[in-house]
Amino acid sequence: MPENSREPESLLLVDDNPTNLQVLYQTLEASGCKLLVAKNGETALSIAQKASPDLILLDIMMPGIDGFEVCRRLKADPATAGIPVIFLSALTDTKDKVQGLQLGAVDYVSKPFQPDEVNARVDTHLTIHRLKREVEEKKDALEDELEAASDVQRRLLPKNLPEIEGLRLAVHYETSLYAGGDYYDVAKIADNQWGFLVADAEGHSAPAAVMMAMTCALFRSYPHPPAEPGKLLYFLNEHMCKVADPSFVTALYVVYDAGSRTLKIARAGHPPPMIYRSAEKKAIEYKCGGVFPLGIDAYEQVPVTEAELHPGDRILMYTDGITERFNTDRETYGEERLLRQLEAGGDLRPQKLLTAIVQNVNAFAGGRPADDDQALLLAIVE
């Protein structure tokens, strides 16, 4: 709001002694503030609630509710808790000053006061209060924007996972700061083939979200059926190189042929998938060659690794926000824990298994919030 359109700030002056109140009024008249007055605690509380003054100058010794109690009630009510209070009192004992400040007052002025001192302190606290309010307003506006970006971004993710014959899917997606850099998608290819993409734009929040949206747009505008993982990553990289600098995006792309139960895997700087072999009851990180992340430099060739799945096998694609989730001792969750979780739980449905994994990661982290985005895509062969 421009400076000149702002309403004058308002001060509430509270004192039971009419002479004191008048002196105070005259002292602050030249400040340009709108002055409200109250002669006792009850009236002060009522005016504070109705008029929300920008600052309250409060006498302590008053009949009825005293100034300390008025301050306590102001601070207990969310509607008035943010209004700064300056005590003005003839009580000069340090104990009284400390009590006043402990109740949440911002300052304490002893009576009889010097008019210049009162004006200077009022001016200081109005400025602090105004700046604080402006910072809060900007923070709210920024959070609104981030939330709006987050909403848009969530709409980029698939609404539902497809029904695939012989393959059950589940997904978990969580951002650390509203909008995030993680992305997953599923593409239907002809002949009962499916493409699964998991990507992670470096960083998080707004810049990563833009890169994530770019990756999504490029993936969906790929001009061929995305049946060749190497070619797809080559295409994404070619375009990301034009915009990503100095950032980058890691990606894992897997094509699943539901008829032959075979996988083709390509990887750009991204952790390889984990595969659980039902026959061996063991999960491993599936070794596959790869290239550096998207958006850095042109690729010569993107290696593709093949794998075969059998009924009961599981494949997990994830972003490193999972394995690099910290606990309170600054240890990371790591690949080993994730592998053991993928082996657990016998005949679980993918959504249940995924929920158990996420719970295990959260339990490991303890009270420490995630500082990166986390995405998991799990498929179980029937």
Partner: protein, 112 residues
């Protein structure tokens, strides 16, 4: 995160101690930028005391590599611990940035 800096025989050495992650990346980027403002174009990162490197840390290394490439210079990393080495292998960055086992081998790499 602490970064110490020295120059010897036309090579800039940066020794990293601690964790290069989101919370230290910006500071590291600014330091590298100011060091590379002059004529320097031979840069060696000593990672012997680097405990942890996140993707934000990879961005710092990548930024340095690009800047050195722009200045037609030489850049290498050396003395990585097993964890950090694995990060470079899995991420594919090992293919675009020379990695030496020891400081001596690193010096040879950037002297070429």
């Amino acid at each position: 995160m602490e970064i110490s800096h020295k120059e010897e025989n036309g090579i800039v050495f940066l020794a990293f101690n601690g964790r290069l992650d989101g919370s230290s990346a910006t500071e590291a980027e600014q330091m590298i930028k100011s060091i590379l403002e002059g004529e320097n174009n031979r840069l060696l990162f000593d990672f012997a005391d680097l405990e942890y490197l996140s993707s934000a840390g990879l961005r710092v290394v990548l930024g340095a590599a690009k800047e050195i490439k722009r200045k037609d210079g030489k850049f290498a990393l050396c003395a990585l611990n097993a964890y950090v080495k694995e990060v470079f292998e899995v991420s594919g960055f090992g293919a675009i940035i020379p990695i030496a086992d020891s400081v001596e081998a690193g010096i040879d790499e950037v002297k070429k």
